[in-house]
Protein backbone atom coordinates (compact mmCIF):
# COMPACT_ATOMS: atom_id res chain seq x y z
CA UNK A 1 0.00 0.00 0.00
CA UNK A 2 1.37 3.42 -0.87
CA UNK A 3 0.08 4.82 2.41
CA UNK A 4 2.52 2.92 4.57
CA UNK A 5 5.64 3.30 2.46
CA UNK A 6 5.73 7.07 2.33
CA UNK A 7 9.01 8.45 1.09
CA UNK A 8 11.58 10.11 3.28
CA UNK A 9 10.88 13.66 2.15
CA UNK A 10 7.25 13.22 3.18
CA UNK A 11 8.40 12.22 6.60
CA UNK A 12 8.56 15.74 7.92
CA UNK A 13 6.65 17.87 10.30
CA UNK A 14 3.88 20.11 9.12
CA UNK A 15 4.93 23.58 8.05
CA UNK A 16 3.01 26.38 9.66
CA UNK A 17 2.69 28.38 6.47
CA UNK A 18 -0.83 28.27 5.00
CA UNK A 19 -0.70 27.39 1.30
CA UNK A 20 -1.39 30.18 -1.13
CA UNK A 21 -5.02 30.88 -1.94
CA UNK A 22 -4.54 29.90 -5.55
CA UNK A 23 -3.20 26.49 -4.75
CA UNK A 24 -6.19 25.76 -2.58
CA UNK A 25 -8.66 26.93 -5.14
CA UNK A 26 -7.21 24.46 -7.58
CA UNK A 27 -7.83 21.69 -5.13
CA UNK A 28 -11.41 22.89 -4.65
CA UNK A 29 -12.04 22.66 -8.36
CA UNK A 30 -10.57 19.19 -8.45
CA UNK A 31 -12.94 18.02 -5.78
CA UNK A 32 -15.96 19.65 -7.39
CA UNK A 33 -15.19 18.01 -10.69
CA UNK A 34 -14.68 14.69 -9.02
CA UNK A 35 -16.75 12.43 -11.20
CA UNK A 36 -16.31 8.83 -12.08
CA UNK A 37 -16.14 7.61 -15.61
CA UNK A 38 -18.39 4.70 -16.47
CA UNK A 39 -16.65 2.28 -18.80
CA UNK A 40 -18.76 0.51 -21.34
CA UNK A 41 -17.41 -3.00 -21.84
CA UNK A 42 -16.89 -4.28 -25.42
CA UNK A 43 -19.61 -6.21 -27.24
CA UNK A 44 -22.36 -3.77 -26.37
CA UNK A 45 -25.37 -3.01 -28.52
CA UNK A 46 -27.97 -0.27 -28.05
CA UNK A 47 -30.18 -2.36 -25.83
CA UNK A 48 -27.70 -4.70 -24.19
CA UNK A 49 -24.57 -3.44 -22.52
CA UNK A 50 -22.23 -4.06 -19.62
CA UNK A 51 -20.74 -1.20 -17.64
CA UNK A 52 -17.77 -1.16 -15.36
CA UNK A 53 -17.77 0.93 -12.18
CA UNK A 54 -14.32 1.44 -10.74
CA UNK A 55 -14.15 1.62 -6.96
CA UNK A 56 -17.65 0.34 -6.27
CA UNK A 57 -18.89 -2.84 -4.63
CA UNK A 58 -22.06 -4.52 -3.44
CA UNK A 59 -23.24 -1.30 -1.80
CA UNK A 60 -24.02 0.53 -5.00
CA UNK A 61 -24.17 -2.63 -7.13
CA UNK A 62 -27.15 -4.24 -5.47
CA UNK A 63 -28.99 -0.97 -4.80
CA UNK A 64 -28.61 0.09 -8.43
CA UNK A 65 -29.62 -3.35 -9.67
CA UNK A 66 -32.84 -3.05 -7.66
CA UNK A 67 -33.58 0.44 -8.97
CA UNK A 68 -32.99 -0.61 -12.57
CA UNK A 69 -35.04 -3.80 -12.26
CA UNK A 70 -37.97 -1.67 -11.12
CA UNK A 71 -38.11 -0.24 -14.65
CA UNK A 72 -40.58 -2.20 -16.80
CA UNK A 73 -38.55 -1.51 -19.94
CA UNK A 74 -35.69 -3.58 -18.56
CA UNK A 75 -35.46 -7.18 -19.65
CA UNK A 76 -32.51 -8.09 -17.44
CA UNK A 77 -30.22 -6.43 -14.95
CA UNK A 78 -27.53 -7.97 -12.82
CA UNK A 79 -24.24 -7.04 -11.27
CA UNK A 80 -21.04 -8.87 -10.46
CA UNK A 81 -17.74 -8.23 -8.79
CA UNK A 82 -15.47 -10.22 -11.09
CA UNK A 83 -12.57 -10.45 -8.67
CA UNK A 84 -12.61 -9.75 -4.93
CA UNK A 85 -9.21 -8.06 -4.89
CA UNK A 86 -10.10 -5.54 -7.59
CA UNK A 87 -12.55 -2.83 -6.58
CA UNK A 88 -14.50 -3.10 -9.79
CA UNK A 89 -18.18 -3.71 -10.26
CA UNK A 90 -19.71 -4.82 -13.55
CA UNK A 91 -23.34 -4.09 -14.29
CA UNK A 92 -25.22 -5.83 -17.09
CA UNK A 93 -28.32 -4.25 -18.56
CA UNK A 94 -30.56 -5.63 -21.29
CA UNK A 95 -33.59 -3.61 -22.28
CA UNK A 96 -36.54 -3.92 -24.64
CA UNK A 97 -36.46 -2.01 -27.95
CA UNK A 98 -38.28 1.05 -26.63
CA UNK A 99 -35.20 2.42 -24.88
CA UNK A 100 -31.45 1.87 -24.55
CA UNK A 101 -29.12 0.65 -21.85
CA UNK A 102 -27.48 3.99 -21.02
CA UNK A 103 -30.82 5.73 -20.62
CA UNK A 104 -32.02 2.98 -18.31
CA UNK A 105 -28.86 3.28 -16.22
CA UNK A 106 -29.36 7.02 -15.88
CA UNK A 107 -32.99 6.51 -14.88
CA UNK A 108 -31.87 3.98 -12.28
CA UNK A 109 -29.49 6.50 -10.71
CA UNK A 110 -32.29 9.09 -10.67
CA UNK A 111 -34.60 6.61 -8.96
CA UNK A 112 -32.03 5.97 -6.25
CA UNK A 113 -31.46 9.67 -5.67
CA UNK A 114 -35.22 10.33 -5.38
CA UNK A 115 -35.45 7.46 -2.93
CA UNK A 116 -32.64 8.92 -0.82
CA UNK A 117 -34.46 12.26 -0.59
CA UNK A 118 -37.64 10.58 0.62
CA UNK A 119 -35.73 8.53 3.21
CA UNK A 120 -33.98 11.66 4.53
CA UNK A 121 -37.27 13.58 4.75
CA UNK A 122 -39.23 10.87 6.49
CA UNK A 123 -36.35 9.99 8.81
CA UNK A 124 -35.91 13.60 9.94
CA UNK A 125 -39.65 14.01 10.51
CA UNK A 126 -39.93 10.79 12.50
CA UNK A 127 -36.87 11.61 14.59
CA UNK A 128 -38.05 15.12 15.44
CA UNK A 129 -41.49 13.80 16.38
CA UNK A 130 -39.91 11.11 18.54
CA UNK A 131 -37.57 13.55 20.26
CA UNK A 132 -40.49 15.91 20.95
CA UNK A 133 -42.60 13.12 22.44
CA UNK A 134 -39.68 11.96 24.59
CA UNK A 135 -39.18 15.53 25.84
CA UNK A 136 -42.90 15.68 26.69
CA UNK A 137 -42.61 12.47 28.69
CA UNK A 138 -39.63 13.85 30.60
CA UNK A 139 -41.31 17.14 31.47
CA UNK A 140 -44.71 15.74 32.46
Amino acid sequence: MPSSVHSQDQDQSMIDAVPSEQQEQQEDVLELEDKRIVIQLPGATETAASFQFEGEGHTLGNALRYAIMKNPQVEFCGYTIPHPSETKMNLRIQTYDTTNAVEVLEKGLDTLMDLCDVVTDKFTTARDAFNASEADKMSS
Binding site: V38, T59, L105, K122, T124
Partner: protein
Protein backbone atom coordinates in the same frame (compact mmCIF):
# COMPACT_ATOMS: atom_id res chain seq x y z
CA UNK B 1 -54.14 -7.38 -20.38
CA UNK B 2 -56.14 -5.77 -17.65
CA UNK B 3 -54.11 -5.30 -14.52
CA UNK B 4 -54.58 -8.16 -12.10
CA UNK B 5 -55.04 -7.24 -8.50
CA UNK B 6 -53.78 -9.94 -6.16
CA UNK B 7 -55.86 -10.77 -3.11
CA UNK B 8 -54.88 -9.41 0.28
CA UNK B 9 -54.03 -12.94 1.43
CA UNK B 10 -51.62 -13.30 -1.48
CA UNK B 11 -50.00 -9.94 -0.69
CA UNK B 12 -49.62 -10.97 2.95
CA UNK B 13 -48.01 -14.23 1.88
CA UNK B 14 -45.49 -12.41 -0.30
CA UNK B 15 -44.56 -10.09 2.55
CA UNK B 16 -43.44 -12.87 4.88
CA UNK B 17 -40.18 -14.79 4.66
CA UNK B 18 -41.12 -18.22 6.04
CA UNK B 19 -39.01 -19.72 8.77
CA UNK B 20 -39.34 -23.49 8.93
CA UNK B 21 -37.72 -25.89 11.42
CA UNK B 22 -34.67 -26.49 9.26
CA UNK B 23 -35.05 -24.16 6.29
CA UNK B 24 -36.21 -20.76 5.16
CA UNK B 25 -38.48 -20.26 2.17
CA UNK B 26 -40.06 -17.50 0.10
CA UNK B 27 -36.76 -15.65 0.39
CA UNK B 28 -36.15 -13.29 -2.56
CA UNK B 29 -38.28 -10.23 -3.16
CA UNK B 30 -40.54 -10.55 -6.18
CA UNK B 31 -41.88 -7.02 -6.53
CA UNK B 32 -40.38 -6.45 -9.96
CA UNK B 33 -42.16 -5.71 -13.23
CA UNK B 34 -42.64 -8.92 -15.20
CA UNK B 35 -42.41 -11.25 -12.23
CA UNK B 36 -46.14 -11.59 -11.61
CA UNK B 37 -48.08 -11.61 -14.90
CA UNK B 38 -50.48 -8.72 -15.15
CA UNK B 39 -49.17 -6.82 -12.15
CA UNK B 40 -47.24 -3.58 -12.52
CA UNK B 41 -44.63 -3.21 -9.73
CA UNK B 42 -43.08 -0.34 -11.68
CA UNK B 43 -41.10 2.14 -9.58
CA UNK B 44 -43.33 4.97 -8.51
CA UNK B 45 -42.07 7.74 -6.29
CA UNK B 46 -45.59 8.61 -5.07
CA UNK B 47 -46.23 5.02 -4.10
CA UNK B 48 -42.95 4.93 -2.26
CA UNK B 49 -43.67 8.18 -0.42
CA UNK B 50 -47.01 6.75 0.69
CA UNK B 51 -45.76 3.36 1.75
CA UNK B 52 -42.39 4.19 3.31
CA UNK B 53 -42.47 4.67 7.06
CA UNK B 54 -39.93 5.37 9.80
CA UNK B 55 -40.59 4.44 13.45
CA UNK B 56 -38.21 5.39 16.20
CA UNK B 57 -37.73 3.06 19.16
CA UNK B 58 -34.79 4.70 20.85
CA UNK B 59 -32.71 7.77 20.14
CA UNK B 60 -29.87 8.33 22.53
CA UNK B 61 -26.84 10.33 21.56
CA UNK B 62 -24.65 7.37 20.70
CA UNK B 63 -27.18 4.61 20.20
CA UNK B 64 -30.39 4.64 18.27
CA UNK B 65 -32.87 2.07 17.10
CA UNK B 66 -35.54 2.63 14.48
CA UNK B 67 -37.60 0.78 11.91
CA UNK B 68 -37.58 1.47 8.22
CA UNK B 69 -40.72 -0.02 6.70
CA UNK B 70 -41.34 -0.35 2.97
CA UNK B 71 -37.79 -0.62 1.69
CA UNK B 72 -36.15 -3.37 -0.31
CA UNK B 73 -33.31 -5.31 1.32
CA UNK B 74 -30.83 -4.05 -1.28
CA UNK B 75 -31.41 -0.45 -0.23
CA UNK B 76 -31.43 -1.12 3.52
CA UNK B 77 -28.24 -3.10 3.11
CA UNK B 78 -26.64 -0.26 1.17
CA UNK B 79 -27.28 2.08 4.10
CA UNK B 80 -25.86 -0.42 6.56
CA UNK B 81 -22.75 -1.00 4.48
CA UNK B 82 -22.21 2.73 3.98
CA UNK B 83 -22.54 3.33 7.73
CA UNK B 84 -19.75 0.91 8.47
CA UNK B 85 -17.41 1.57 5.60
CA UNK B 86 -18.07 4.83 3.83
CA UNK B 87 -19.02 7.62 6.22
CA UNK B 88 -15.82 9.65 6.68
CA UNK B 89 -14.27 10.33 10.07
CA UNK B 90 -11.03 11.66 11.44
CA UNK B 91 -8.25 9.41 12.75
CA UNK B 92 -4.53 9.53 13.33
CA UNK B 93 -2.80 8.33 10.18
CA UNK B 94 0.82 9.54 10.31
CA UNK B 95 2.91 9.40 13.45
CA UNK B 96 6.31 11.10 13.57
CA UNK B 97 8.28 9.74 16.49
CA UNK B 98 10.89 12.14 17.82
CA UNK B 99 11.65 10.07 20.87
CA UNK B 100 10.22 6.91 22.30
CA UNK B 101 12.18 5.22 25.07
CA UNK B 102 9.17 3.36 26.43
CA UNK B 103 8.98 -0.42 26.23
CA UNK B 104 6.25 -0.25 23.62
CA UNK B 105 7.61 -0.24 20.09
CA UNK B 106 7.09 2.71 17.75
CA UNK B 107 4.92 0.81 15.28
CA UNK B 108 2.76 -0.77 17.98
CA UNK B 109 2.30 2.60 19.61
CA UNK B 110 1.40 4.18 16.28
CA UNK B 111 -1.19 1.47 15.65
CA UNK B 112 -2.74 2.05 19.08
CA UNK B 113 -2.88 5.79 18.52
CA UNK B 114 -4.66 5.32 15.22
CA UNK B 115 -7.50 3.46 16.90
CA UNK B 116 -8.38 6.29 19.30
CA UNK B 117 -11.73 7.81 18.27
CA UNK B 118 -11.45 11.58 17.93
CA UNK B 119 -14.26 14.10 18.16
CA UNK B 120 -14.47 17.75 17.22
CA UNK B 121 -16.73 20.30 15.60
CA UNK B 122 -18.87 18.50 12.99
CA UNK B 123 -18.92 21.68 10.94
CA UNK B 124 -15.14 21.74 10.98
CA UNK B 125 -14.85 18.11 9.98
CA UNK B 126 -17.20 18.74 7.06
CA UNK B 127 -15.08 21.71 6.05
CA UNK B 128 -11.98 19.54 5.97
CA UNK B 129 -10.91 17.96 2.72
CA UNK B 130 -9.43 14.61 1.85
CA UNK B 131 -5.71 14.18 2.20
CA UNK B 132 -4.71 12.69 -1.13
CA UNK B 133 -2.13 9.94 -0.87
CA UNK B 134 0.59 9.76 -3.49
CA UNK B 135 0.18 6.99 -6.03
CA UNK B 136 2.87 4.39 -6.55
CA UNK B 137 3.67 5.68 -10.05
CA UNK B 138 3.96 9.31 -9.02
CA UNK B 139 5.22 9.91 -5.48
CA UNK B 140 4.70 13.66 -5.97
CA UNK B 141 0.96 13.37 -6.61
CA UNK B 142 -0.14 13.36 -2.97
CA UNK B 143 -1.36 16.50 -1.23
CA UNK B 144 0.84 18.32 1.23
CA UNK B 145 -0.32 18.68 4.82
CA UNK B 146 -2.32 21.90 5.22
CA UNK B 147 -4.87 23.29 7.65
CA UNK B 148 -7.77 22.02 5.52
CA UNK B 149 -6.64 18.40 5.31
CA UNK B 150 -4.50 17.64 8.36
CA UNK B 151 -5.07 17.92 12.09
CA UNK B 152 -1.88 18.03 14.16
CA UNK B 153 -1.78 16.40 17.58
CA UNK B 154 1.21 16.16 19.87
CA UNK B 155 2.15 13.83 22.67
CA UNK B 156 5.04 14.98 24.86
CA UNK B 157 5.32 13.08 28.08
CA UNK B 158 8.07 11.99 30.44
CA UNK B 159 7.85 9.78 33.49
CA UNK B 160 9.57 10.99 36.67
CA UNK B 161 9.79 9.86 40.26
CA UNK B 162 7.23 11.40 42.58
CA UNK B 163 9.19 12.95 45.47
CA UNK B 164 6.01 13.21 47.57
CA UNK B 165 5.10 9.52 47.35
CA UNK B 166 4.47 7.81 50.68
CA UNK B 167 7.25 5.47 51.78
CA UNK B 168 6.55 1.88 50.83
CA UNK B 169 4.10 2.95 48.14
CA UNK B 170 3.47 0.12 45.65
CA UNK B 171 1.09 1.75 43.15
CA UNK B 172 3.20 2.98 40.20
CA UNK B 173 0.67 5.70 39.48
CA UNK B 174 1.41 7.27 42.86
CA UNK B 175 5.05 6.33 43.02
CA UNK B 176 5.81 8.03 39.68
CA UNK B 177 4.46 10.92 37.73
CA UNK B 178 3.01 10.04 34.29
CA UNK B 179 3.44 6.31 34.80
CA UNK B 180 0.35 5.83 32.66
CA UNK B 181 -0.11 7.68 29.40
CA UNK B 182 -3.78 8.31 28.61
CA UNK B 183 -5.58 9.61 25.55
CA UNK B 184 -6.22 12.86 27.45
CA UNK B 185 -2.46 13.57 27.38
CA UNK B 186 -2.68 14.14 23.62
CA UNK B 187 -2.64 17.84 22.85
CA UNK B 188 -4.30 19.41 19.83
CA UNK B 189 -2.25 21.97 17.95
CA UNK B 190 -4.58 24.11 15.79
CA UNK B 191 -3.16 25.52 12.56
CA UNK B 192 -4.43 28.28 10.23
CA UNK B 193 -8.21 28.42 9.82
CA UNK B 194 -8.72 25.45 12.12
CA UNK B 195 -8.87 28.08 14.87
CA UNK B 196 -12.27 29.18 13.45
CA UNK B 197 -13.81 25.75 13.89
CA UNK B 198 -12.04 23.75 16.54
CA UNK B 199 -12.11 25.94 19.65
CA UNK B 200 -13.26 25.31 23.20
CA UNK B 201 -15.53 22.27 23.42
CA UNK B 202 -15.29 21.86 19.67
CA UNK B 203 -11.54 21.26 19.75
CA UNK B 204 -10.24 17.97 18.43
CA UNK B 205 -10.00 15.62 21.38
CA UNK B 206 -10.33 11.92 22.12
CA UNK B 207 -13.90 10.78 22.77
CA UNK B 208 -12.77 8.73 25.76
CA UNK B 209 -10.02 10.53 27.70
CA UNK B 210 -9.21 7.47 29.82
CA UNK B 211 -7.89 5.23 27.04
CA UNK B 212 -4.54 3.84 28.18
CA UNK B 213 -1.91 4.35 25.50
CA UNK B 214 1.32 3.24 27.17
CA UNK B 215 2.96 2.67 30.55
CA UNK B 216 6.22 4.37 31.50
CA UNK B 217 8.85 4.17 34.21
CA UNK B 218 11.09 7.03 35.43
CA UNK B 219 13.41 8.30 32.71
CA UNK B 220 11.26 6.97 29.86
CA UNK B 221 9.93 9.50 27.43
CA UNK B 222 7.56 9.72 24.51
CA UNK B 223 7.67 12.64 22.11
CA UNK B 224 5.70 12.49 18.92
CA UNK B 225 3.72 14.46 16.40
CA UNK B 226 0.58 12.92 14.93
CA UNK B 227 -1.23 13.88 11.75
CA UNK B 228 -4.93 13.04 11.52
CA UNK B 229 -6.68 12.89 8.19
CA UNK B 230 -10.18 12.16 7.00
CA UNK B 231 -10.75 8.62 5.84
CA UNK B 232 -13.35 5.91 5.43
CA UNK B 233 -13.86 2.55 7.10
CA UNK B 234 -13.29 0.68 3.84
CA UNK B 235 -9.69 1.86 3.99
CA UNK B 236 -9.10 1.08 7.66
CA UNK B 237 -11.51 0.13 10.46
CA UNK B 238 -10.21 3.01 12.59
CA UNK B 239 -12.12 5.39 10.30
CA UNK B 240 -15.43 3.58 10.82
CA UNK B 241 -17.83 5.87 12.73
CA UNK B 242 -19.92 3.04 14.20
CA UNK B 243 -19.31 0.32 16.74
CA UNK B 244 -22.12 -1.67 15.22
CA UNK B 245 -24.62 -0.88 12.55
CA UNK B 246 -27.04 -3.71 11.94
CA UNK B 247 -30.59 -4.48 11.04
CA UNK B 248 -32.93 -7.39 11.58
CA UNK B 249 -36.27 -8.15 10.01
CA UNK B 250 -39.39 -7.85 12.15
CA UNK B 251 -40.35 -11.33 13.40
CA UNK B 252 -43.83 -12.60 12.59
CA UNK B 253 -45.63 -15.26 14.66
CA UNK B 254 -48.83 -16.64 13.22
CA UNK B 255 -50.89 -18.89 15.51
CA UNK B 256 -53.06 -20.77 13.05
CA UNK B 257 -54.92 -23.14 15.36
CA UNK B 258 -55.81 -22.60 19.02
CA UNK B 259 -53.22 -23.35 21.68
CA UNK B 260 -55.07 -23.73 24.97
CA UNK B 261 -54.45 -24.53 28.63
CA UNK B 262 -51.12 -26.07 29.68
CA UNK B 263 -50.01 -26.10 26.05
CA UNK B 264 -50.42 -22.34 25.99
CA UNK B 265 -48.17 -21.96 29.04
CA UNK B 266 -45.54 -24.17 27.47
CA UNK B 267 -45.90 -22.24 24.22
CA UNK B 268 -45.28 -18.92 25.97
CA UNK B 269 -42.11 -20.37 27.50
CA UNK B 270 -40.73 -21.08 24.03
CA UNK B 271 -40.44 -17.32 23.47
CA UNK B 272 -38.73 -14.44 25.27
CA UNK B 273 -40.81 -12.90 28.04
CA UNK B 274 -43.59 -10.65 26.85
CA UNK B 275 -43.82 -11.98 23.31
CA UNK B 276 -46.70 -14.40 23.96
CA UNK B 277 -49.54 -13.49 26.32
CA UNK B 278 -52.23 -15.71 27.83
CA UNK B 279 -55.83 -14.60 27.55
CA UNK B 280 -59.04 -16.33 28.59
CA UNK B 281 -61.16 -17.79 25.82
CA UNK B 282 -64.30 -15.67 25.58
CA UNK B 283 -67.79 -17.13 25.65
CA UNK B 284 -68.30 -15.86 22.15
CA UNK B 285 -65.31 -17.78 20.81
CA UNK B 286 -66.33 -20.92 22.71
CA UNK B 287 -69.78 -20.76 21.17
CA UNK B 288 -68.47 -20.49 17.64
CA UNK B 289 -68.50 -23.81 15.79
CA UNK B 290 -65.25 -24.86 14.11
CA UNK B 291 -63.12 -22.27 15.86
CA UNK B 292 -61.36 -24.94 17.93
CA UNK B 293 -62.38 -23.21 21.13
CA UNK B 294 -65.66 -25.12 21.60
CA UNK B 295 -66.14 -26.10 25.21
CA UNK B 296 -63.03 -24.27 26.37
CA UNK B 297 -64.83 -21.21 27.74
CA UNK B 298 -62.65 -19.49 30.36
CA UNK B 299 -59.49 -21.50 29.68
CA UNK B 300 -56.28 -19.68 28.79
CA UNK B 301 -55.24 -19.38 25.15
CA UNK B 302 -51.95 -18.16 23.72
CA UNK B 303 -51.97 -14.89 21.78
CA UNK B 304 -49.14 -12.93 20.20
CA UNK B 305 -48.65 -9.75 22.14
CA UNK B 306 -45.38 -8.36 20.86
CA UNK B 307 -43.50 -10.16 18.09
CA UNK B 308 -40.95 -7.31 17.99
CA UNK B 309 -38.91 -8.75 20.86
CA UNK B 310 -38.86 -12.31 19.54
CA UNK B 311 -35.47 -13.79 18.76
CA UNK B 312 -36.92 -16.31 16.27
CA UNK B 313 -35.26 -19.19 18.11
CA UNK B 314 -37.65 -21.71 16.49
CA UNK B 315 -37.95 -23.47 19.83
CA UNK B 316 -41.73 -23.81 19.42
CA UNK B 317 -41.23 -25.75 16.18
CA UNK B 318 -39.42 -28.54 18.03
CA UNK B 319 -42.41 -29.62 20.09
CA UNK B 320 -44.91 -32.22 18.91
CA UNK B 321 -47.95 -30.47 20.38
CA UNK B 322 -47.47 -27.29 18.34
CA UNK B 323 -47.06 -29.06 14.98
CA UNK B 324 -49.15 -27.29 12.38
CA UNK B 325 -50.48 -24.80 14.88
CA UNK B 326 -47.93 -22.03 14.45
CA UNK B 327 -46.01 -20.46 11.57
CA UNK B 328 -42.90 -18.36 12.08
CA UNK B 329 -41.66 -15.77 9.65
CA UNK B 330 -40.11 -12.39 9.20
CA UNK B 331 -41.59 -9.34 7.53
CA UNK B 332 -39.64 -8.81 4.34
CA UNK B 333 -39.72 -5.03 4.23
CA UNK B 334 -39.53 -4.11 7.91
CA UNK B 335 -35.94 -3.38 8.90
CA UNK B 336 -35.18 -2.75 12.56
CA UNK B 337 -31.93 -0.82 12.51
CA UNK B 338 -29.62 -0.50 15.44
CA UNK B 339 -26.80 2.03 15.17
CA UNK B 340 -24.19 2.46 17.83
CA UNK B 341 -21.85 5.38 17.25
CA UNK B 342 -18.24 5.15 18.34
CA UNK B 343 -18.59 8.67 19.72
CA UNK B 344 -17.55 11.05 16.95
CA UNK B 345 -21.07 11.73 15.69
CA UNK B 346 -24.60 11.31 17.01
CA UNK B 347 -26.14 8.05 15.90
CA UNK B 348 -29.15 9.59 14.12
CA UNK B 349 -26.87 12.02 12.31
CA UNK B 350 -24.82 9.06 11.10
CA UNK B 351 -27.79 7.49 9.37
CA UNK B 352 -28.58 10.74 7.59
CA UNK B 353 -24.94 10.91 6.53
CA UNK B 354 -25.16 7.41 5.06
CA UNK B 355 -28.18 8.41 2.97
CA UNK B 356 -26.26 11.45 1.82
CA UNK B 357 -23.28 9.34 0.83
CA UNK B 358 -25.45 7.03 -1.28
CA UNK B 359 -27.01 10.00 -3.02
CA UNK B 360 -23.61 11.56 -3.63
CA UNK B 361 -22.36 8.33 -5.16
CA UNK B 362 -25.27 8.29 -7.59
CA UNK B 363 -24.81 11.96 -8.47
CA UNK B 364 -21.13 11.40 -9.20
CA UNK B 365 -21.71 8.42 -11.45
CA UNK B 366 -24.48 10.26 -13.22
CA UNK B 367 -22.11 13.09 -14.05
CA UNK B 368 -19.66 10.55 -15.43
CA UNK B 369 -22.42 9.03 -17.52
CA UNK B 370 -23.00 12.18 -19.58
CA UNK B 371 -19.66 11.57 -21.29
CA UNK B 372 -20.86 8.17 -22.38
CA UNK B 373 -24.09 9.54 -23.85
CA UNK B 374 -22.40 12.05 -26.13
Amino acid sequence: MAPLIPSQAELDRRLIVDINPETVSNIPSTDFPGHWPGESHEWSLDKFINSFKVDFHRNEQFESSFSLVGLDASIANAFRRILMAEVPTLAIEFVFVNNNTSVIQDEVLAQRLGLIPLKGSVEGINWMRWFKRPTEDDPESGSSPSDYNTIVLRLEIECTKNPNAAPGEQDPRKLYKNAHVYAKDIVYDPVGRQMDYFTGDNAIQPVNPEILIAKLRPGQKISMEMHCIKGIGADHAKFSPVCTASYRLLPDINIQRPIIGDDAKKFAKCFPRGVIALEPVTAEEAAKKGSGYEGHDGEMKAVVRDAFNDTVSRECLRHEEFQGKVKLGRVRDHFIFNIESSGQFDSDFLFLESVKVLKLKCARWKRGLTDLMR
